[in-house]
Amino acid sequence: MTSVVLLIAVVIAAVPWALPESASFVLPLLLIILVFVLTVQQRQELPSLSVFAGGLIMDILTAGPLGYWAAIFLLTHTLAALYRKRKTPREFGELWLAFAGTALAASVSGWGLASLYFVRVIDWQPMLIASATAIALFPLVAWPMRRTLGLEPATIFSGRR
C-alpha cells in the first residue's frame, strides 16, 4: 500500500502544475515529505526497493540522469529509518524538527550531487526554496497522519511530561 501511495505521488509530481521557474525543485522535493512520513509511520513498512523505484521513475519523468532522485529518496528513507529506530516521537514538533534536518540534508546532498554531475557549482537557491517549502508544508501531510505516526493526539509542543 505504501509503495502504491508513493508511486501515485511521483506521477502527480510530474504533472505540469505551472509553477514558476524559481520553484523548479519544489515538486520533486515535496515527495521527500511522503518518503519520510511513510518510513516513520508505524503500520506498514515502506520497502527500500519501492523508494528506489519511485526515485527512478521520478528521474525518468523529470528527464534527469537516472539515479539522482533515487539516491536522494534513499537518503531520506535511511535518515527517517534511523530516526525511527532511535527515537519515538511523542510530539508533532519533534517530528517536524527531525524532518527539517532530513530535508536540509537531502537538499544539500542533491545540490552536491548535481554539482558533481555537471563538474561545476550549480545555483543553490532553487534547492533552498524547495527545502524551505517542503519543511513549511510538512504538517499538511503529517498532521492528518499523526495517529499512524504514533504521536499522542492534539500535541504540537506540549512540553515534557
Binding site: 506521477v11 502527480i12 510530474a14 504533472v15 505540469p16 502544475w17 505551472a18 509553477l19 514558476p20 521557474e21 524559481s22 520553484a23 523548479s24 525543485f25 519544489v26 515538486l27 520533486p28 508505524q42 513498512e45 527500500s48 526497493l49 523508494v51 528506489f52 526515485g55 527512478l56 521513475i57 525518468i60 519523468l61 523529470t62 528527464a63 534527469g64 540522469p65 537516472l66 539515479g67 539522482y68 532522485w69 533515487a70 539516491a71 534513499l74 535511511t78 529509518a81 525511527r84 529506530k85 519515538t88 511523542r90 542533491g110 545540490w111 550531487l113 548535481a114 554531475y117 555537471f118 550549480i122 545555483d123 532553487p126 534547492m127 504514533g150 499522542e152
Partner: protein, 320 residues
C-alpha cells in the same frame, strides 16, 4: 497512552533491520546509473524512451485535473477583470483591423512581386498540436513531455511552438509521446538573428529563466527590446520563428522568451524536414511491407499488360 507507546517501541524492535545490504546495493546502483547517464549510454536512453511511452497514457490522464485547475484559475482571473479586459480587447480589435488591412495589401503586393520574379513559393509548414502531459523540473533539464509521437509523424529535431513562439525542439520521439527540450535547457543551442539588422548569434540555454546570446560579433549593435528569431542556419529549424526579445543587454545579453516556458499547455510540433533531420532518421511512417511471395507467371503477364495499358494511356494524354 504510555502503554500504547511502549507497545509501539516493542513492535519496532521486533521488526527486522532495514536490510543494510539491500540498501547498500541500491545506493551503489544509483551511483552506477548516474555515471552511465553522464556517459550518455545508449541503452539507458532506450530504456528511458520505452518507459516514457509506457507511462504516457497514465500521465495524460493524470494531467487532466492539473489542466482543469489551471483553466479554472485563469477563468476566475478573467471574471474578476471582465470590464478591464473588455476595454483592452476593444482597443486591440481596432489595432488588429488596421493590421488586417495592411496585411491584405502586403499580400497582394507580394503576389504581384512573385509573379514578376517568377519566384518559387515556400511550402506551408505542416504541424500537429497536442498538450503537455509532464514537465521536467530540476537541475538537469528543462523539458516537457508532449502527447504526440511517431504515430502522429513527430520526429527528433522538429521545432515545438506555442501561440507565442518557439519553445524548443523534440529530442526523443516515442510512439505516442515525445520529449522536447526547452530553449532555456542547458543543452539547447539555437542559431538566431537579432534585431532589425539581423545580427547572427546563438541562443544558449543555461537552465535559467532567460537564455543568453553567444557568438555575437564584437561590433554588433543590439539593444534591449530587439527581437530574436530563428535564423534557419544549420538547417535544423525553419527560419523566422519568433523566440523573444533582449531583456538585458550587456555581457551576456539575455533573452526573455515570448512563451511562458513554465506554464505551457497546448503546443504544436512543426513538421520541418531539413536535410539534417532526414539524414538522422528513417521516415516516420514506414511504407507497408511488400509481400515477399513471388507472383506466378500468369500474374506477372497480367501486371505487364496493365502497365503497358497505363503507358499507352499516358502517351495519348500527352499527344492531346
Amino acid at each position: 497512552m504510555r502503554s500504547m507507546n511502549a507497545a509501539y517501541q516493542r513492535q519496532r524492535r521486533k521488526r527486522p533491520s532495514m536490510g543494510g545490504w539491500l540498501l547498500f546495493a541500491l545506493y551503489f546502483a544509483s551511483l552506477v546509473l548516474l555515471v552511465f547517464s553522464r556517459l550518455e549510454n545508449d541503452q539507458i536512453r532506450e530504456v528511458r524512451g520505452l518507459f516514457t511511452d509506457l507511462i504516457s497514457p497514465v500521465l495524460h490522464a493524470a494531467s487532466q485535473p492539473a489542466i482543469y485547475a489551471r483553466r479554472s484559475k485563469e477563468q476566475l482571473g478573467d471574471y474578476l477583470d471582465l470590464f478591464e479586459e473588455l476595454d483592452r480587447l476593444k482597443e486591440e480589435n481596432q489595432k488588429l483591423k488596421i493590421w488586417a488591412w495592411r496585411a491584405q495589401r502586403m499580400e497582394r503586393r507580394l503576389e504581384h512581386m512573385n509573379a514578376l520574379l517568377n519566384a518559387v513559393e515556400e511550402t506551408a509548414l505542416k504541424y500537429a498540436s497536442g498538450h503537455v502531459i509532464a514537465d521536467a523540473r530540476g537541475p538537469f533539464a528543462k523539458s516537457v513531455l508532449i502527447n504526440l509521437g511517431r504515430k502522429q509523424g513527430v520526429r527528433n529535431g522538429y521545432a515545438v511552438v506555442d501561440g507565442d513562439g518557439l519553445i524548443g525542439r523534440v529530442v526523443h520521439s516515442g510512439d505516442t509521446a515525445s520529449r522536447a527540450i526547452l530553449v532555456n535547457d542547458l543543452n539547447s543551442r539555437i542559431p538566431v538573428v537579432v534585431g532589425p539588422a539581423a545580427v547572427r548569434a546563438v541562443l544558449v540555454g543555461d537552465n535559467t529563466d532567460e537564455p543568453r546570446l553567444e557568438f555575437l560579433p564584437n561590433s554588433a549593435a543590439v539593444y534591449e527590446g530587439d527581437t530574436v528569431s530563428t535564423s534557419g542556419h544549420g538547417g535544423l529549424l525553419p527560419r523566422g520563428l519568433q523566440i523573444g526579445v533582449i531583456s538585458r543587454s550587456g555581457k551576456p545579453h539575455r533573452v526573455r522568451t515570448h512563451a511562458a516556458l513554465g506554464e505551457l499547455e497546448y503546443v504544436s510540433v512543426l513538421f520541418y524536414d531539413s536535410p539534417v533531420v532526414a539524414a538522422q532518421e528513417a521516415p516516420s511512417v514506414a511504407p507497408k511491407p511488400v509481400a515477399s511471395k513471388k507472383p506466378s507467371a500468369g500474374k506477372r503477364r497480367k501486371a505487364a499488360n496493365l502497365q503497358n495499358k497505363h503507358v499507352k494511356a499516358g502517351e495519348k494524354v500527352q499527344a492531346r
